[in-house]
Subunit: 198 residues, 2 copies
């Protein structure tokens, strides 16, 4: 079955609509989605930036909010910016890596994004994450213990280094058939490329 890698950061605003629609969009073309959470912060820092470009350049940040309002309205998704932005996606990303092994990464990630950009909630909250895990029938306290282990921390570091090695500099990004695509707007192209590459 053809597949594509979906690289996403929980703090990233445009990863929200991408996460909400990618499985359906890919399924239409018979493409499987591999969910790859990573941290954008270290990659942005390596480029010499000290914050999200949307905060560094407020005019761009203001536009981004309006653009996302329109994008979410067109997709019938609720939208509310969290404060502060960007949210710290560290716990969620470590959890999603566990979820990728156990088959609940996609459902978990969508629930986190809906809380964050649908309700404007703070996702750097073990309580919120525990509720999401429990709703999915996952053992929340076991997972929340596990993400404090050296192994869980190391796995996210390795995944982030891999993203950087692949030339990823923003989120969401897609890798399909040897091509890198950046941005929610490129999802359709990435799916087509994955289907073509077979």
């Amino acid at each position: 079955m053809p597949s594509l890698d979906f690289w996403y950061e929980f703090g990233s605003s445009y990863s929200y609509p991408a996460a909400m629609r990618i499985d359906k969009q890919a399924a239409k073309s018979g493409v499987e989605v591999k969910w790859r959470p990573f941290l954008l912060g270290p990659i942005i820092a390596a480029q010499g930036m000290t914050d999200s470009p949307f905060n560094l350049y407020p005019v761009k940040g203001k536009y981004m909010v309006r653009d996302l309002e329109r994008t979410c309205a067109a997709l019938d998704l609720p939208f509310s910016m969290p404060d502060p932005f960007p949210q710290n996606g560290l716990y969620a990303a470590r959890l999603a890596i566990i979820g990728a092994d156990e088959g609940w990464a996609a459902d978990f990630s969508r629930a986190v994004y809906l809380a964050e950009f649908g309700d404007g909630a703070n996702i750097f909250s073990k309580e919120l994450l525990a509720n999401i895990l429990s709703d999915l029938g996952v053992d929340a306290s076991s997972c929340l213990n596990e993400i404090e282990s050296p192994e869980a921390k190391e796995r996210l570091k390795i995944q982030t280094a891999k993203a950087q090695d692949l030339g990823i500099f923003g989120a969401p990004s897609f890798i399909a058939g040897g091509e890198l695509y950046w941005g929610n707007d490129r999802l359709e192209q990435a799916v087509d490329q994955a289907a073509k590459a077979g």
Copy 2:
């Protein structure tokens, strides 16, 4: 007739595919395009950047080239990056403002973009610009004299200040029905909005 404002910078790579397709795309929806050349440099400088983000962040710059190769291939447009990038669009922008009065701004701008991003030519060249003007049946030497006048310089400064006042921070940008859209990817949305706003 419904209309939209097309704000473009001659040095901007993504303004190239937008310029090549906007008139046809808008005509399908009965929308008139108002061509508004401006300078992005002063606006980027006001945000504290000293160069194009594609040069400041080379990983992003490398991606941009590949993304444009794909975009241009899909549109059947030739593509070749000019060196250096970005090119200085000062003369071309002053000329296009004259062209907007005289009815040749769109043809002139497309020809400049084709030379720059189709052939990789240097557009900060009065010889190249003179050839383009002559091909359009425009009095090249008169126009090239006119762009050294205080009036021509002032008009471009005013146009650039207007872009900044409108919240424009990148190119291409579109303003339609009171909404700002940024990027070649938003052209269709801007045309729809213009048609809806009527």
